[in-house]
């Protein structure tokens, strides 16, 4: 196998990783605050359309931020439904995913004059080479050259996430809202605002990931381009046991698995498999990882449970 393919496969895997990890990190905030969020896919979709519009109007940096902001705003529907009105989290998440598709279509017609896509080649950030790593021999340097600057940012996001969750008053209270809201409230912690914040952060992350997909990877908005990656991000979150570093490993695993059928279909061993099986690899990896090898899944104790609050 030419090693250049391995480098290209890693580069592609890192693109998928970036989408998955950013989205999963957002989901982590939501779920650690006690709100299950299966609407990540829908929040990403809102990020793709708003990010594409933003980059055309104001450039790629603004586009990414507008994507994040729109995800945040849209996620407030989920927060309102689950925190304030105690709607079942799964039902509300499904609604988010359904409405996002229609909303994106409506906005696409408004922004681009066509219902399902923008023009191609929308403005994007200049790609970068990672010093030293891009000089790796045997074609592996390709994995670390010509990379979107958002990719390393995704890795780095683990640091503020760990810090906020473990070292700040906000993070600790957020976690208490997700583990035992009754106990938190008896200690004077107001649960509802924390849960709004958790959901809002997940919306911002997912919207940012969607904007990254549209602006940096595809360089256009296209209906359906998220391809269910929001759900794979959810799987990475579960596989990573709601812990930032483990979620990173899970996202890397799923990201690389996505790349295998696309870049390594003629690699040794893999090429012996029938085509259909090679295409199954990402899904098989996901199912095995979730069903078999996670060990004890340890979700936040109060996640998915409505909290009525003492003042109700």
């Amino acid at each position: 196998m030419p090693l250049i393919d391995l480098g290209a496969a890693i580069a592609l895997g890192l693109r998928y990783f970036t989408i998955l990890y950013l989205t999963a990190l957002g989901g982590l905030f939501s779920e650690r605050s006690g709100i299950v969020n299966i609407g990540l896919e829908g929040l990403m979709i809102v990020g793709t359309i708003m990010g594409a519009w933003g980059t055309i109007e104001y450039g790629p940096v603004a586009g990414l931020l507008i994507g994040a902001l729109s995800g945040l705003v849209f996620s407030m529907v989920h927060a309102l439904a689950t925190v304030t009105f105690h709607v079942d989290h799964i039902v509300s998440g499904v609604v988010i995913n359904l409405v996002a598709v229609g909303l994106a279509r409506f906005l696409s017609a408004l922004f681009f004059g066509q219902a399902t896509q923008s023009d191609p080649g929308i403005p994007h950030l200049n790609s970068i080479d990672i010093p030293l790593l891009d000089k790796l021999p045997l074609g592996l340097g390709a994995a670390f050259s010509n990379m979107s600057p958002v990719v390393p940012i995704a890795f780095l996001m683990a640091i503020p996430t760990i810090y906020v969750l473990n070292r700040t008053r906000f993070g600790l209270r957020l976690r208490s809202a997700g583990e035992n809201p009754e106990a938190a409230e008896t200690l004077g912690v107001r649960v509802a605002p924390l849960r709004y914040a958790g959901v809002g952060i997940s919306g911002a992350f997912a919207g940012f990931a969607g904007a990254f997909l549209a602006i940096e990877i595809n360089q256009l908005f296209r209906e359906g381009q998220t391809q269910g990656l929001g759900f794979i991000a959810l799987a990475a979150l579960i596989l990573g046991n709601w812990a930032p570093i483990k979620v990173m490993i899970g996202s890397l695993l799923f990201g690389i698995a996505q790349a295998i059928p696309l870049r390594l279909s003629d690699a040794p061993v893999i090429s012996l498999l029938p085509e259909e099986f090679i295409r199954m690899i990402p899904y098989v990896v996901t199912i095995i990882a979730i069903a078999g090898f996670v060990g004890r899944v340890n979700p936040p104790a109060a996640a998915g449970r409505a909290y009525e609050g003492s003042a109700a």
Binding site: V77, F85, V101, F106, Q227
Partner: protein, 352 residues
């Protein structure tokens, strides 16, 4: 439970917004005049007018009929399907109820609905683009010989290729439709030079394969890396990934369905050799003309090279020696004539 009511309001507002995305009935903006001719209704599929693809092509066919005075603009109407396409049948029924002489359904997905509806409206003629509706006295399926157009762009690729390797990027595998494009393309390449290798990649096995530019780009990059210098796609929206890969790898690309040089970005169109044109406008125009002349052809009407139903694209961007030179165009036109004359038979299934 007061709060519960509010939630319903919020959700209803959201769903309304999503429904608006689908589109609503509209009449063509009016010209004057009163024709005593036929009345034509169009049921567009998901995407509606402005999709720069199927629906717009059908609309051009209608406009041509209006321009040539076959049908009066006031006697036309269209309805766009909603986002999920769940109201396709209702739209066709609405048009049939209004007593149009011809109802054109733009897309294969209308076929099964037309099967049920057509017998209730014996005085209305139904035409289904890409259709597979059952035989009925008032139903015509307008289908295309995609393999013939693909043959020509395959020949163009073979004439242009310097690497001796070209590629094909397919969308959904397993239905036989995209395989027709592959078969024609490969046959066209081999007609010109049997020694050229054709790399083939399919994106997936579901319709999601047509809206995945990420995978489209990844597979195109792989084929360029593996030595292909020209790639033809039949992958719908995923083809955007091919054009992006072409820019990054400095390869040539071939578009599909419509003249994609016209909708590509400026750096992409320098690399688009040509596009395989599927003339939905021709088919729609023909159907309208047939009804006007009372010669509506039921069953299947096939639009190949002979009927101007498929073709290769020449435009102001590729009509030059760097891309589609005059010599190549002359050779392609000779091949086109051979196919029309029956001297070349184009296969519809890839060789095993």
């Amino acid at each position: 439970m007061r709060s519960g009511k509010w939630l319903v309001v919020v959700l209803a507002a959201g769903l309304l917004a999503s429904a608006c995305g689908g589109g609503s009935p509209g009449e063509s903006p009016g010209g004057g005049g009163s024709g005593g001719g036929i009345r034509v209704g169009l049921a567009y599929d998901v995407g509606g007018v402005g999709d720069k693809s199927f629906n717009d092509a059908a609309n051009r066919g209608l406009q041509q009929a209006i321009d040539e005075g076959i049908v009066d603009e006031d006697d036309t109407e269209f309805i766009e399907a909603n986002a999920s396409g769940s109201d396709r049948d209702d739209n066709v029924i609405a048009l049939a109820d209004e007593g149009f002489d011809l109802v054109v359904a733009v897309g294969f997905a209308f076929s099964e609905g037309i099967d049920k509806i057509a017998s209730d409206y014996p005085d209305v003629n139904f035409a289904v683009v890409d259709g597979f509706a059952k035989e009925a006295p008032n139903v015509s399926n307008l289908v295309f010989k995609e393999e013939e157009g693909s043959f020509l762009v395959g020949a163009a690729a073979a004439m242009k290729s310097e690497a001796g390797t070209v590629g094909f990027l397919g969308g959904q595998q397993g239905t036989g439709l995209i395989e027709k494009f592959e078969a024609g393309y490969t046959a066209g390449v081999q007609e010109v030079d049997p020694n050229i290798e054709v790399l083939v990649e399919y994106i997936g096995d579901s319709t999601a394969a047509f809206v995945d530019p990420t995978k489209g780009e990844a597979l195109s990059s792989k084929m360029y890396d593996d030595g292909a210098d020209i790639i033809y796609h039949a992958a719908g929206g995923s083809g955007a990934g091919l054009f992006k890969a072409a820019v990054e790898k400095d390869g040539l690309a071939i578009g599909v369905d419509s003249d994609q040089s016209l909708t590509a970005s400026s750096e992409q169109r320098k690399l688009i050799l040509t596009s395989m044109l599927k003339r939905v406008d021709t088919a729609v125009f023909e159907a309208i003309q047939q009804v006007a002349e009372d010669s509506f052809r039921k069953g299947f009407q096939t639009f190949g090279l002979a009927e101007d139903g498929v073709d290769y694209a020449v435009n102001k961007y590729n009509d030059n020696p760097q891309l589609l030179s005059q010599e190549i165009q002359d050779e392609l036109d000779a091949l086109k004539q051979d196919i029309i004359d029956g001297k070349i038979k184009v296969p519809t299934e890839p060789a095993a």
